[in-house]
Amino acid sequence: MTTVEASAGGGPVLGTRLRRREDGALLTGESRFVADLAVPGALHLALVRSPHALARIVDVDVSGALAMPGVVAAFSGADLRDEWAGPLPCGWPVTAEMKQPAHLPLAVERACYVGDAVAVVVATSEYAAHDAADAVTVTYEPLPAVVDLEQALTDEVVVHPELGTNVAYTWELAPDDAAVDAAFASAAHVVDARYVQQRLIPAAMEPRGVLVVPEPFGGSFTVYSATQIPHILRVMLALTAGVPETDLRVVAPAVGGGFGSKLNVYAEEVLALALARRLRRPVRWIEERTENAQATIQGRGQIQHVELAADAEGKVTAVRVRLTADMGAYLQLVTPGIPLLGAFLYSGVYDVPAYSFRCTSVFTTATPTDAYRGAGRPEATYAIERAMDTLARRVGVAPEEIRRRNFIGPDAFPYTSVAGLVYDSGNYAGALDRCLALAGYDALRAEQQRRRAAGGTRQLGIGISSYFEMCGLAPSRVLASLNYTAGGWEAASVRILPTGKVEVVTGTSPHGQGHETSWAMIVADRLGISPDDVDVIHSDTARAPYGLDTYGSRSLAVGGTAVAMATDRVVDKARRLAAHQLEVAEEDLELAGGVFAVRGSPDRTMALAAVAFEAFTAHDLPDGMEPNLEASCHFDPPNFTFPFGTHLAVVELDTDTGKVSLVAYHAVDDCGVQVNPMIVEGQVHGGVVQGAAQALWEEAAYDTEGNLLSATLMDYLVPSAAEVPSITTASTVTPSPTNVLGVKGVGEAGTIGAAPAVINAVVDALSPFGIEDIAMPASPQRVWRAIEDARRRGTHPTSTAATDDTTTQATSTKET
């Protein structure tokens, strides 16, 4: 397929590979990010951060900073204690008993992770602020750290003594434990596995940043933030800083990625607002890369204990999950809810009759965790897809076969899962078959066998994962049942202006997803006009007052649906007006190519633009009709959507060095109806690389003292294009019945599918050594160590050992 420029008018738009209208400005550097916004007289903040994982703050002396040139002010946490109307917010108290530590923008008594902010310097330039931050003297009484989850559970070191324990909450989804126990008691095969989801750093290309500009009159503020959630941020800033919501306008300008890390309310945002209020000057803070590693939320951080029970044929009869989740030092906006987002998914795409999930979430002296691309769902998918491969080995069948024996059938939808979800639609076996064909699976297995038989140091591994996920967050009533403190709806307004141009106002807040392009396509498709005639307004609470923003693959399924429904309401009104003026019945009007035509009398027409102008002049409206063509929709989805697919990874593993190279990747994704397949592919590409990154490269590594060892992009290994093969993508289309567009969402699918596919491939390559698991990331050293251990255990295959000898002999022969 080829990419197309915006069509001149009419013609099918939905499902075309329309070029993103966002990209020109991004590629030429014209897009304005927070750091680009020049505001005369703006002051700069620099934070003083704790170098200790846990420490009592004995004294903060800012006098040295105040003496430095260009410094306007400097404050300790105690100095600013009275600025706060409330603590930094946690919007998801998952249980009534959940323990929640006090969390202020600047720590006052204790610093609880390396990077916890304890003082702030305000200066006339960024350089002056950073120099002066070095001159603040903080006296700490260092305390023992606790970064290991299982050690935290012992409460030997308690992060927040006032809570009395490190356990934040326990939560369960266990409809029938007796049935689960019975299934295990009679199981022919059992898998009992422990997986560690290492902490990850989201590492958006643009670090965070915030600029608060006090309006010259009236005491109100405009807050520019590199955020995914301008609407939620406005509410939360009002509550934490005590500024009336009506005095706050929040704008997310161009935002360079988030992956969940900008789905939060951060200390620096609140600080900048409070200091702009106190100093009556514009205040800016721009995050450094190491601050981004230490003081922006991290993702994952779970230990999963997963058990499968299965009958003799490998049909799964029960899944039992015991999860320990790392909250980090504090509860950020949705920290406690992340394990719950995965809790419903551990039975995967399989017809599982018995299920039990329990989660214990604990505080540690490390950076708070929160939503990171997939947020709970990649973790759950990893666990079930890794465990299914192990089950296949136990049963003695191929990984694709164990999946086929357990898939929910295509005729079973809507399918009510044992965890209580109703899956909207799916064809899991269809996606698997398509992926195996796409990958040339039989040939791959033959090549793998050839290499194994030949010996040699470069062995192939092939890994499959059949994933699904729950997106389109979320039905508000379901959120209520999970103690989430907001709704899950999305808002849109569509107005056809007097000239026929269309303005769309959306409550979503894109930061790389291409909503301007996609929303224009949705509207243009329904109106039969060119997308070029549709302008999309977003990410500014003054222009788009209602919204719940962008995260959780929700924007298209909820926000895009709201746009479509608002468009349909505008069309309904336009049709009534056109019918009135053409003196025909509404049912006799057809809208095509932006023109209403009378059925059977194609010469009697009225263009939408003409209808809009008539609605604007209001000279001849039907009785009771209000002027103008405008409609809004606040769409609260009746259910989640459930995208799915199968991914297949091929790795080459060097058995001498342990190095794993990802040599091929095939992804078949079903995200329902596709608005713009090029954007879908882009999401899959980026998502797959992010998932593979967890499998092979990335880890927020801490030492036992709580120091983040991978705090720069030299040590935190975000992969580049050089490490990743060209990804083959294909799709199946199973429309969702949940919304008028039939869409599901694709923002996180790649990430969810990739990590288990890649690790299944690595373990497949290692299986001749008797190795059943490898921890993430599967670094060369880790793989080498696993092979060495297997060789020491004597479980390595004789063929490989013989090959090693042969190689040596051959070398010697050639040498002599």
Binding site: D134, E288, T657
Partner: protein
């Protein structure tokens, strides 16, 4: 990412650079491509009071044949080395190694003189120069002198250069037709080697290691084993003899020793003359 305050001086000639170094002594650092120094300054791990920019001394950027050697000016960028016909013909190892450094942006800015003067044991060019038996020319207030690569790297990020000397030229004996290999083991293409091996076989063997100690170093035990008639695999087993490699997130010392043995074996096999 905000460096500490520093003064900036731009040298218009090598002599002027030497003069500025003499004036400022240990407070000063030379700035060439800046791809090692500037990141350290941005992380505030280095805070020189004065930067002396020699980046515009274009007369120090050249690659020339001189009899049995190829001489390379200190300001020659990695990219120019990578694509040099002269080096490709006579010292192909160096051209190849230069093409493996960092990423294209680094290769278009970084210089061979800067890489050698920084003396980072994890850098690739120092090991290549050791394996090739290069020599290094430095100019100071009293004139120029030549230092063998073997004598150049004296400690962690320390070299035989005096505080008032400017590295001006690298002399590489021609190795036309010799077997060679560079084995760079890393997790991402842009990274420093976890372990690297540069090998040249030209009658005798020159083998040098990246990131296996506090300096770029020669694998003496391997070279000696080969000289006394050992086979490739047997010689490679000595790759880590007597070495104390660093430990970091990517590799324990034990794993580095193992990698050195594997990579030296591969390097020796690849560098074996085709005769």
């Amino acid at each position: 990412m905000i460096p500490a305050r520093f003064d900036y001086r731009r040298a218009g000639s090598t002599d002027e650079a030497v003069g500025l170094l003499t004036e400022h002594g240990d407070d000063a650092k030379l700035l060439a491509g800046g791809h090692s120094l500037l990141p350290l300054m941005k992380l505030r791990l280095a805070a020189p009071a004065v930067l002396i920019d020699i980046g515009r001394l274009s007369d120090l950027s050249y690659i020339r044949e001189e009899g049995d050697a190829v001489v390379v000016g200190a300001l020659t960028r990695h990219r120019d080395i990578e694509v040099s016909d002269v080096l490709g013909r006579h010292v192909p190892l160096l051209a190849h190694v230069a093409g493996q450094i960092g990423d294209p942006q680094v290769r278009h800015r970084g210089t061979i003189g800067g890489s050698l003067a920084h003396g980072d044991p994890a850098s690739d060019l120092p090991a290549a120069c050791l394996a090739l038996g290069a020599s290094i020319t430095a100019v100071g207030p009293t004139g120029s002198r030549t230092i063998a690569a073997d004598d150049f790297f004296t400690g962690f990020l320390e070299t035989a250069l005096r505080p008032d000397e400017v590295l001006t030229e690298v002399t590489l004996p021609k190795a036309t037709g010799a077997g060679w290999s560079f084995q760079k083991f890393n997790r991402r293409a842009q990274d420093w080697a976890i372990v690297g091996v540069a090998a040249v076989r030209n009658g005798t063997a020159g083998v040098a290691l990246v990131n296996m100690g506090s300096t770029p170093l020669r694998a003496r035990a391997v070279e000696e084993a080969l000289a006394s008639g050992a086979g490739d695999a047997e010689a490679a087993d000595h790759a880590a003899d007597g070495l104390e490699p660093p430990e970091d997130l990517n590799a324990s010392a034990e794993y580095r020793r193992h990698l050195a043995r594997v990579l030296v074996r591969r390097a020796l096999q690849e560098a074996r003359p085709s005769t």
